[in-house]
C-alpha cells in the first residue's frame, strides 16, 4: 500500500497523496464526505428549513457554496469547511498570539486571523489584586506586562461591530509564554475541545493547543496549570526557567510530532500527539528523523488503524 522507497527525498505533497489514498481505503463502503467547489449548489433534499452556515449563501432559494471544501451538516445547519483558510474566531476560543504593538490602552495581538485582535488593559490581570483601578500610571507601564514580540495565551472575550476580536487574559492560566517552543499548523487541524491546556505527563510536556493553529509546548510542571507565567503574584522577570537536556529533548520530540501531523494534515488531539511520540520512541527514531519519509509512513499507517477502529 505504501510504496515509498525508504531514504527517498521527503516530499510532503507525495505523502499527503499517499495518506489520502490509504485513508480512502479505510472508508470502504461508507458514504464519502461530499465535496463542493465554489458556486456549486448544495443538495438540501427539498427541505425548507435548512440553516445557512459558514461558507454558503442563498441564491434564488438554493444553497450555494462560497468556498471549496467538505460539506458538514449538523441537524439543519449546513456549512462548508475549507482545507485551509485564515482563522475565524469564536467566543471562548483559547488562542496563542503574538503582541504586535501597544497603542493607547490596548495591545494589538496577531492571532493569524483576518484582523489584529485587541487586548484591552481592562482585560488583563495586573500585579497586586484583581479588583483594582486602572490608573494612568498603569497605562504607562503596559510594557512591563506584555512587550512587543511577546507570545501570550489568551481567550476570545467578545467581538466588535466590524468583526474584529477582543481578547482577555483574566485568569491565572493565561498570560505570557516563555521557556518553550512554538509550532504553527493549519488552524482547521485543531478542533475545539474541552481542554486546550493539556498536560501530557507520559511525555513530560505541557501543550497549549491554540484554536488559531499556534501550539505551545513546554516542559511539564507538576500540579501547575500549563501556562507558565503567573502575573498576579510576582512582577514579570525575564529569567528563563532552567530546562534540563532531557526536558528539551521531550519538548523537541513533541514539537516534531506536531510538525509531522501538520504536514500530513492529520487532526491534532492529545491522543494523536501521544501516539506519534510513543511510536517514535518505540521505533527508536532520532529527533531529526521524525520529519522524514520513513517515519511519516509509520504515522500514516497508525492513523489508518485509528480510523478503522472508529
Amino acid at each position: 500500500m505504501l510504496s515509498l522507497a525508504s531514504g527517498s527525498v521527503f516530499d510532503s505533497a507525495d505523502l499527503v497523496a499517499v495518506a489520502a489514498s490509504s485513508f480512502d481505503q479505510t472508508s470502504g463502503g461508507a458514504p464519502e464526505t461530499p465535496v463542493v467547489c465554489v458556486g456549486d449548489t448544495i443538495a438540501t433534499d427539498g427541505q425548507e428549513g435548512f440553516l445557512r452556515g459558514h461558507g454558503t449563501q442563498i441564491v434564488d432559494g438554493e444553497l450555494v457554496a462560497t468556498v471549496s471544501g467538505a460539506v458538514e451538516r449538523i441537524n439543519k445547519l449546513v456549512s462548508v469547511r475549507t482545507l485551509k483558510s485564515r482563522y475565524t474566531a469564536e467566543l471562548g476560543d483559547v488562542l496563542v498570539g503574538r503582541v504586535r504593538e501597544i497603542s493607547g490602552k490596548r495591545w494589538k495581538v496577531d492571532i493569524n486571523g483576518r484582523q489584529e485582535a485587541v487586548l484591552q488593559l481592562s482585560a488583563v490581570n495586573l500585579p497586586g489584586g484583581i479588583q483594582r483601578r486602572r490608573t494612568a500610571e498603569d497605562e504607562l507601564n503596559m510594557r512591563s506586562v506584555f512587550q512587543e514580540g511577546d507570545l501570550i495565551s489568551t481567550e476570545v472575550q467578545s467581538f466588535f461591530a466590524d468583526g474584529s476580536v477582543a481578547l482577555h487574559t483574566r485568569s491565572t492560566k493565561y498570560g505570557k509564554l516563555k521557556g518553550g517552543q512554538l509550532v504553527t499548523v493549519a488552524c482547521s487541524l485543531i478542533r475545539r475541545q474541552k481542554q486546550h491546556f493539556i498536560p501530557l505527563e507520559s511525555l513530560g510536556v505541557d501543550v497549549i493547543l491554540g484554536c488559531n493553529g499556534l501550539v505551545w509546548v513546554t516542559p511539564h510542571v507538576a500540579g501547575a496549570p500549563a501556562a507558565a507565567a503567573d502575573q498576579t503574584s510576582e512582577p514579570d522577570t525575564d529569567v528563563e526557567p532552567s530546562v534540563s537536556a532531557k526536558q528539551r529533548a521531550a519538548v523537541c520530540r513533541t514539537a516534531n510530532a506536531l510538525r509531522a501531523l501538520g504536514a500530513l494534515g492529520i487532526s491534532i488531539t492529545p491522543a494523536t500527539i501521544e501516539d506519534t511520540c510513543k511510536a517514535s520512541i518505540d521505533a527508536g527514531v532520532q529527533l531529526h528523523a521524525m520529519l522524514e519519509g520513513p517515519f511519516l509512513e509509520v504515522i500514516i499507517s497508525q492513523e489508518t488503524q485509528r480510523r478503522q477502529r472508529q
Binding site: A20, E62, S85
Partner: protein, 245 residues
C-alpha cells in the same frame, strides 16, 4: 510545439499550428499550495506558458489603504525579467476588477487581499494564464466567493482566420486579440433559466477588428472557458477528495 524561427512579422508558415487545430486549447496543468508563507498559492500552465500566483489575506492593512465596509484587493504582477511596466499595470487592473467581482468583499471589512503574480514562462496568453492562476489560488486560500472564474484568449490572424489560446509567435503575428474572463457559472445570480453557461466577467482587447469578428472571438472565448472551467472544477475536486476530514 513547433520550433519557430523566433518572433518576427507575420508569415503564414510561422502562424500555422503543427500540433493542434485552430480551435484546440493547449495542455492545462494546475498545482496548488506551493508556497508555505502565502495563505493560498497556485501555479497554472498552458502549454509552455506558466504563471505562479500567491494570495495573502484577508489580513490587516495600513489605515490609509483600508476601506471601512469592504475588503481592498491589491494586485502585483511581476514579469519574468525586467521591472513591471505599463503592460503589467494593465494586467493588474484587469485582475483586480475580476477578483473584486467574485470575492464577497463585504464579508471582511477593513482588510486587504494581496495578490502577487510571477510570470514563470511566457509563451503567449500570459493574462489569461495569470487570471486562471489567481482563481485557483483564491480557492486554495479558502476565500469566500460568489463564483469562480476562468479565462481564455483568442486571436484574429491575418487572413481573417481565428485561433484560440495562441502561443507567443501567433500572438505577435495576430491582428487583434481578445482575452476574456468568464464565471464557471453553475448558478449565476442574475442568470435566467434560459441563459445558463459562462457569464462574461471581463474583456481585454488589443488591436483593431470589425465588430462581427470581436463578437466571434468573445463567443469563442466563452466556449473555451466552458472547457477550462470543467478542468478547473475537476482539479479542485481532486485536491479536496480524501483530504477533507
Amino acid at each position: 510545439m513547433q520550433p519557430t524561427a523566433g518572433p518576427g512579422p507575420s508569415s503564414e508558415a510561422l502562424a500555422k499550428r503543427s500540433d493542434r487545430t485552430e480551435l484546440q486549447l493547449r495542455v492545462l496543468t494546475c498545482e496548488r499550495s506551493l508556497l508555505h508563507r502565502a495563505d493560498g498559492s497556485a501555479k497554472w500552465s498552458q502549454g509552455q506558458t506558466s504563471v505562479l500566483a500567491a494570495i495573502y489575506g484577508p489580513r490587516l492593512t495600513f489605515a490609509k489603504k483600508e476601506h471601512p465596509e469592504t475588503c481592498v484587493v491589491e494586485v502585483l504582477v511581476r514579469p519574468k525579467t525586467r521591472l513591471p511596466g505599463p503592460t503589467e499595470r494593465q494586467t493588474e487592473s484587469l485582475i483586480r476588477q475580476c477578483v473584486e467581482g467574485v470575492v464577497l468583499t463585504a464579508m471582511h471589512p477593513r482588510t486587504a487581499i494581496l495578490v502577487v503574480i510571477q510570470v514563470v514562462q511566457n509563451d503567449g496568453c500570459v493574462m489569461a494564464c495569470a487570471l486562471n492562476a489567481v482563481a485557483a489560488a483564491l480557492v486554495d486560500a479558502g476565500i469566500p466567493m460568489h463564483q469562480n472564474f476562468v479565462s481564455v484568449t483568442s486571436a484574429l490572424m491575418p487572413g481573417a482566420s481565428v485561433v484560440i489560446d495562441p502561443d507567443l509567435a501567433e500572438e505577435q503575428a495576430a491582428e487583434a486579440l481578445v482575452c476574456s474572463a468568464c464565471t464557471t457559472c453553475r448558478s449565476w445570480p442574475e442568470a435566467s433559466a434560459a441563459q445558463k453557461g459562462p457569464a462574461v466577467l471581463a474583456v481585454y482587447t488589443r488591436g483593431a477588428m470589425p465588430v462581427e469578428d470581436y463578437l466571434t472571438l468573445v463567443e469563442l472565448n466563452r466556449q473555451g472557458c466552458e472547457r477550462v472551467a470543467q478542468f478547473s472544477v475537476m482539479a479542485a475536486e481532486k485536491s479536496l477528495v480524501g483530504k477533507s476530514r
